[in-house]
């Protein structure tokens, strides 16, 4: 990616969750459930990733009438490789332990 930033354990967990099905769109609530990160921490991380252009976002059309549309997220193509590298490196440093699914490892 060219830019290296210091990633927290929570950010690494979010990256790992987004890499489970990298081509698919993810909802914020499901990422929170998957990682155990509360909403107040998750959304600033997503916002930061989006600002760095590592995250694609999209508004999903409402499925129920009157219900607000939901926001969808997925890593950009370039960011997926970079995220895997970061997760591997963090695991090697023993800074972060991959979840059982082992998406990034």
């Amino acid at each position: 990616m060219g830019v290296r930033i210091r990633l927290s354990r929570q950010t690494l967990a979010v990256l790992e969750a987004l890499l489970v099905r990298p081509g698919e769109w993810h909802h914020g609530y499901s990422v929170s459930q998957q990682t155990g990160i509360p909403s107040g921490t998750l959304y600033p991380i997503l916002m930061r990733l989006e600002k760095l252009h590592w995250l694609e976002t999209e508004w999903e059309a409402a499925k129920t009438p009157g219900r607000p549309p939901r926001h969808l997220y997925r890593l950009t193509g370039a960011a997926r490789e970079w995220a895997r590298d970061e997760l591997r490196e963090a695991a090697a440093r023993k800074f972060w332990k991959p979840a059982a699914s082992g998406a990034g490892a």
């Binding site: 909802h27 914020g28 609530y29 499901s30 929170s32 509360p38 909403s39 107040g40 921490t41 998750l42 959304y43 600033p44 997503l46 916002m47 508004w59 409402a62 009157g66 219900r67 607000p68 549309p69 939901r70 926001h71």
Partner: protein, 577 residues
């Protein structure tokens, strides 16, 4: 339709619990105030709340949302602060950033500069300077806020059983406009005096110093009696009684007009008054308690330096002394008696009377009281010396007559010399302190005007940014200039104000801690009065003269500038031709 606009309309399905509805309402409320730059993220988070399977999860999600909201507000505020006044954050849909006239300095810079100025002025030195200069603009007149400060002081003193502070509060004058509560105030003061003396009998002198001869009420008669018993050698308690007697005697006349010279001359025929004055003149000591009052004032001020200066200055300048006119009147009465004794050939009696008067004058001179008491003492002594010289001459005692005349002349010379020296020193000191006072007031005015300009400029630019950006008029330029440079001017003026105030701070500090030198009192009085020079020219009787002078000077300067500019242009045109 913007996605966030859908949020408040949807309240979930019919099976949604009350907790989930409440959590949703909280987020909906936060969304209304969410900063523009991250509102989409808030909306995205709020849209997920319906995924929560139970009320607890919904509440937990909502609490996280509120944390995110707080974080977004802080981050947005920080970004907003880093922009100049009148600018708005990108995407907020209002105004924009910058403009040819718009301020260049960030809001953060403005806030920090004003905060530093505020901190400087909130330091103890700054507060003292502000208090003193503000009081000088009110001519050190006591206000109701001073009365409240005194009331608090009295309450604390009562709680701590502090006799000195109670005595100080009792001796402090009341605000002039508070005449409606005058009798109540007198009663409260009387109670405070009694309490102070009861707590510490050494403060019995307050009975004498708290001497309102116009309001001589029964309690004071009792006080004077007690004071005479406690301080039997002092002439002053007896003089207070004599003053009160004359006050009551002339009461009907005072109601119509002031008593005439004849009324005073006739006092010599009043046996009650002459008996009282005779006792006072024979008393071996004259002490109007000025030194004790000053000592008390310094002790209280040193303990509470944050008290308003006018409380002390009014107290200092309103210290009551016996009626000096009556003292001179009695001296004349006594010396007329000596003259009569001389004419009747009773030289011994004449000498005794004149010597008694001279001795009283000498006691007044050396009493360390006020300057006016010293001068009256000198005048009485000289009157007595002249009479003594006449008596000795009639007796044929030429050497004694010459000695009395020489003593009288010497007295006059020494007093004139000392007062002249003191006055010359004071005049020189006053010139110096007047310059410093003008600088202090100049900085205060500059600071006040800069603050006003900065506040008006910033508010104008913030409230009407688009108008300011679109206009190019002189007033728009002035507003932007004021918003940009006003805060720095406030800081510079505040710093200069504090530096210029340092000599006055020293005078105040010296007065509070020094021993009881009259010179310190003069220094304080001179310094404080010098600060009123500028306010008098701005607000007082000289304000009209100052205004027209300033206007004349300004218009003259404009005319000179116009003429110079005309000449310059004419020369340029001529040289081109």
């Amino acid at each position: 339709m913007r996605p966030e606009e859908l949020m408040p309309a949807y309240e979930g399905g019919p099976q949604v619990s009350a907790a989930a509805r409440f959590a949703r309402a909280m987020l909906g409320c936060a969304l209304r105030y969410w900063p523009e730059d991250s509102r989409a993220w808030g909306t995205a988070m709020a849209a997920e709340i319906d995924e929560a399977t139970n009320g607890f999860d919904a509440m937990w999600w909502s609490l996280g949302g509120l944390m995110f909201f707080a974080r977004s507000v802080l981050s947005s505020t920080w970004a907003w602060l880093k922009l100049p006044a009148g600018s708005s954050l990108p995407g907020s849909g209002a105004g924009g950033v910058g403009g040819p006239l718009m301020p260049k300095r960030s809001r953060l810079f403005t806030a920090v500069v004003l905060a530093v100025a505020a901190v400087l002025l909130l330091l103890p030195e700054g507060r003292e300077a502000l208090r003193t200069v503000t009081a000088s603009w009110l001519e050190y007149e006591m206000t109701s806020s001073d009365q409240r400060a005194l009331d608090k002081l009295a309450a604390r003193a009562e709680k701590e059983k502090d006799a000195g502070t109670l005595a100080f509060v009792a001796l402090s004058p009341t605000p002039r406009h508070d005449s409606a509560h005058h009798s109540q105030q007198l009663e409260r003061t009387a109670a405070m005096v009694e309490r102070a003396v009861a707590l510490d009998p050494s403060y019995i002198w307050v009975y004498g110093a708290k001497n309102h001869r116009h309001d001589y009420y029964p309690a004071q008669k009792e006080w004077v009696t007690r004071l005479e018993m406690a301080d039997p050698d002092n002439a002053v308690p007896i003089l207070i009684e004599a003053d009160a007697y004359v006050e009551q005697k002339f009461a009907t006349r005072y109601a119509r007009n002031y008593p005439t010279e004849k009324d005073f001359e006739n006092l010599g025929d009043d046996p009650q008054w002459t008996a009282l004055m005779g006792r006072a003149y024979a008393a071996p000591k004259y002490d109007s308690y000025l030194q004790k009052h000053l000592q008390l004032m310094r002790a209280v001020w040193d303990r509470d330096p944050n008290l308003p200066p006018e409380i002390f200055l009014e107290g200092l300048w309103s210290h009551t002394i016996p009626d000096l006119r009556l003292l001179r009147t009695y001296a004349k009465v006594r010396l007329e008696g000596a003259e009569k004794a001389k004419v009747s050939g009773d030289f011994k009696q004449a000498e005794a009377v004149a010597n008694g008067v001279a001795a009283f004058g000498a006691r007044m001179m050396s009493s360390s009281g006020t300057v006016i008491e010293e001068l009256i003492g000198v005048a009485i002594s000289r009157m007595a010396d002249k009479e003594l010289a006449a008596i000795y001459t009639s007796e044929g005692k030429i050497a004694e007559a010459q000695a009395a005349t020489a003593h009288s002349d010497e007295l006059e010379r020494s007093v004139r010399k000392r007062i002249g020296r003191d006055e010359a020193g004071r005049a020189e000191r006053r010139r110096g302190i007047d310059r410093e006072a003008a600088l202090v007031q100049g900085c205060a005015i500059l600071g006040g005007m800069s603050l006003l300009a900065a506040v008006v400029g910033v508010l104008f630019v913030e409230l009407w940014p688009n108008t300011t950006r679109a206009q190019r008029g002189w007033w728009c330029r002035a507003m932007c200039f004021a918003a940009d440079y006003g805060p720095s001017a406030v800081l510079i003026a505040s710093g200069a104000f504090l530096i210029c105030f340092r000599p006055f701070q020293k005078v105040l500090a010296d007065f509070r801690v020094s021993s009881f030198q009259l010179d310190d009192e003069h220094r304080l009085t001179d310094a404080m009065w010098s600060l009123t020079f500028v306010p008098e020219h701005v607000l007082g009787m000289d304000s009209a003269v100052t205004f027209w002078s300033a206007l004349t000077i300004t218009l003259s300067a404009v005319v000179v500038a116009m003429v110079a500019s005309g000449i310059y242009r004419a020369r340029r045109v001529a040289s081109r031709a």
